[in-house]
Symmetry: C2
């Protein structure tokens, strides 16, 4: 009895202390909660992100690096930022690769004499062309790059390799399924060439069974240029059909033709706008996304959504009259998709100028309902961030994790700074990603706005409180 009494007293004391600590945290956050509510209210009732995205998607369209659309997107977003009465808006020059698709790709196979099946196909970004008359060859199916070894050179040489590893539907976060399957797209041509393949076609990286082929970047590694073989993606419906066809007709010849090519680099720009900090103008908080997209669809989710959200963060601060202590900078990076030149150049220039970035946040996972953030930071700092989590829960934002951030801000990473990525709901992203199906009508206005507000809220917290714990 006595022991348990003492024990109870001790627990009560500890509970009281915890409650006291919690109480003071709640008090400290009251002002934060009110400020954050203002961002959400303004974004949802008077947001500008959706209108901007409409223009970027429907009046400009797909914005592949080096294209006239990319140039138009630079001009449009700069003009819109100019209209926000920021302290400074400018263009940062950067040379970008210029890969062009050329005339539409074409593919088919013949199952019986004269009976052909057309295949929805798209060249992978960075691929070489086929010979002008196309390639016609036997076709062998493998499940990802590991499948090459199992099949061996004897069965592969002289044929087209068909990489047909599907994204794993059981993964809850679809980005994990993408990561598990993307190597066949990125390195499939390089690896298959080592076995004597004459071309590769890859199952589109999406869970959805559809007729859209999904492109994306590929690379040839360091091998001789002469060994490069053409690479393309086919739709998931076509991949399913081809796979079952090969079981019935293993000897069919597959034909495809593409005349894409890599032109010399051309000048382009990152688009940058900032609000100068009132107390610590030399401490920069960056919010960014990438302005380029693939040439299929209009790049609404990847990554028009992120661009207009980054711009909206600055506009929301102006609208609710929040004057940041630190400098808040929106950066629309050029050429994330096939080169990362914009992100690389930005980081290089920042180092050359001795600029101090304390925090950078990227939105590059679609304009879907925001579910949380991923923080590239150590545990001490992550614990600081976790104390902010309750401020996001009224907005149904619950997932704070340690992990990656965004490709464009990656090169900025330095001791003492924090990188983070907005993490929207991932279920629908790959239905659209890198395909003709990534279009404005698939973006929900409220979901886009909630993402912008969530970003503004996190940027606000870093501005108001700084990076207290060691990142």
């Amino acid at each position: 009895m006595r022991n348990s009494y003492k024990l109870k007293n001790r627990i009560d004391l500890a509970v009281c202390l915890v409650l006291l600590a919690f109480g003071s945290a709640v008090r400290a956050q009251t002002g934060d909660a009110e400020q954050i509510e203002k961002f959400f209210d303004a974004a949802l009732t008077n947001g500008k992100a959706y209108g901007w995205l409409n223009h970027l998607s429907n009046q400009i369209g797909g914005r592949l690096s080096g294209s006239i659309q990319a140039e138009q997107a630079v001009e449009y977003t700069k003009a819109q930022m100019d209209s926000l009465a920021l302290d400074r808006v400018w263009l940062q020059p950067v040379m970008v690769p210029k890969w062009v698709r050329g005339t539409p790709e074409f593919a088919f196979y013949e199952t019986d004499p004269g009976i052909t099946t057309n295949v929805p196909i798209t060249a992978l970004g960075g691929s070489v062309a086929t010979p002008p008359k196309g390639i016609k060859a036997g076709i062998v199916e493998v499940q990802g790059i590991k499948g090459l070894e199992a099949l061996g050179k004897s069965k592969i040489a002289g044929n087209i390799v068909f990489f047909n590893k599907p994204m794993d539907a059981a993964q809850i976060n679809t980005f994990n399924a993408y990561s598990d399957a993307v190597s066949q797209r990125y390195s499939g041509a390089e690896e298959a060439a080592k076995f004597g393949a004459v071309g590769v076609i890859v199952r589109s990286l999406t869970h959805k069974l559809s007729d859209f082929p999904h492109t994306g970047v590929m690379a040839y590694g360091d091998g001789p240029v002469a060994d490069r073989i053409p690479a393309a993606a086919i739709s998931t419906n076509a991949a399913e059909l081809l796979s079952t066809t090969l079981k019935l007709r293993p000897d069919i010849q597959f034909y495809f033709k593409q005349n894409c090519k890599q032109l010399p680099d051309v000048p382009s720009h990152n688009v940058i706008g900032e609000i100068k900090g009132s107390q610590y103008p030399d401490e920069i908080i960056l919010v960014g996304a990438h302005l380029d997209s693939w040439d299929l669809g209009d790049g609404a989710h990847d990554d028009g959504a992120g661009c207009v959200q980054a711009m909206e963060v600055l506009r929301l601060m102006k609208e609710i009259g929040y004057a940041p202590k630190r400098t808040i900078r929106a950066v629309l990076f050029m050429n994330e998709e096939n080169g990362l030149r914009g992100g690389t150049e930005y980081a290089k220039q920042a180092r050359a100028k001795g600029e101090k970035h304390i925090f950078a946040l990227e939105s590059d996972a679609g304009g879907f309902t925001p579910r949380g953030f991923s923080f590239d930071a150590g545990t001490a700092h992550f614990n600081q961030v976790l104390a902010w989590k309750p401020l996001f829960e009224p907005y149904f934002i619950h997932s704070f994790v340690q992990g990656g951030s965004g490709a464009d801000i990656g090169p900025l990473k330095e001791e003492g700074m924090v990188l983070a990525g907005l993490r929207p709901d991932s279920q629908r992203y790959f239905d659209h990603h890198h395909s003709d199906n990534d279009t404005f009508e698939h973006v929900n206005k409220r979901e886009l706005e909630l993402g912008a507000a969530a970003m503004a809220a996190l940027v606000y917290l870093y501005d108001a409180h700084g990076v207290v714990s060691q990142p």
Copy 2:
């Protein structure tokens, strides 16, 4: 120093106790976590819900109570449940109201002689018809029912009332915004008639600016039948346009015509399937949704999604070989939208038979990414439920709240039982709700499947552990 040392010891002790308690909870839940993972894996890799919904939406379509489509939906879902090798599948007879829309509604107004604007319009469910030649009258705009009083009888009598209160965009949960605005649709005609109005038109209940009019149930209360005035919804785009038009041309005449009517009640059915419990067959766990829908669109989100999810809960148990201790029953209720006869009859029969329901879960908020559950239960029981929350977090399901459940299961509520509702992401729901825009192509397969798996997981937990704490 000494004090702080003692203090530290006490806290350490308390922390240890907390960790010990947590550790044992974690061990107790390990089997649960594995079981739940099986449900998610099976739903995502071999789910049947999406295929069923395709048939219900595209081969049957909108399923208004009393329609042939409702009858076809009863037959189809019973046949599908029959194929699942359940212990019992049956139809429960219920008389339902039969309201019919008649020929398409028509509305316009004239701003200058001969210059007319057509208005997308739909009769509200339960409304009377206009006279055969339609109604033409002046039109007065009010912001919800409160606006009637402000305007007064002198300005309203002889006119059509235009209820134009928008859903509040600043509400994060869109169902809250719906609740705040729905009275103008449900009671607008009854209230406006008291001021001498000859008809009402209501702004569609959606945030989205679109051309779709959204229907929904309305009622006239207890007043004389002769006082009933026709009620219809117009699209949000039309409402915006009409509102600005009235500022320029306050004297325009608005015309609308509809010939909907209420026919005598007709027989219909709830569709029920169950797996008998191995240990406590008399304890019933119900998982349900409503099979009827409005006649606009195909009712894919409202509530075809919920129906196929409820069926999928039973199928998943069969597929992974889980034999429940308690009886698990899927109920597809008829006539939620305009009468709730199915839910009422089911509860009446359950009481007459002395059936003991311990838990009922409804899905009637769309087939979107599941975000959590709402529990109609007291605090002691809710705390039991909160201990299960970590089991759902790997699936990005974080929101467990106390609150409402579902309309159909409401009549079942009794001392000692728990009701709950699946709570999917709410942002897109009202873009589709009760309109021609509620169609199958707006349902994402994975989102639908995640919802079904989440329901199966919660049903499993109640089956495995029962209702331990007082609900």
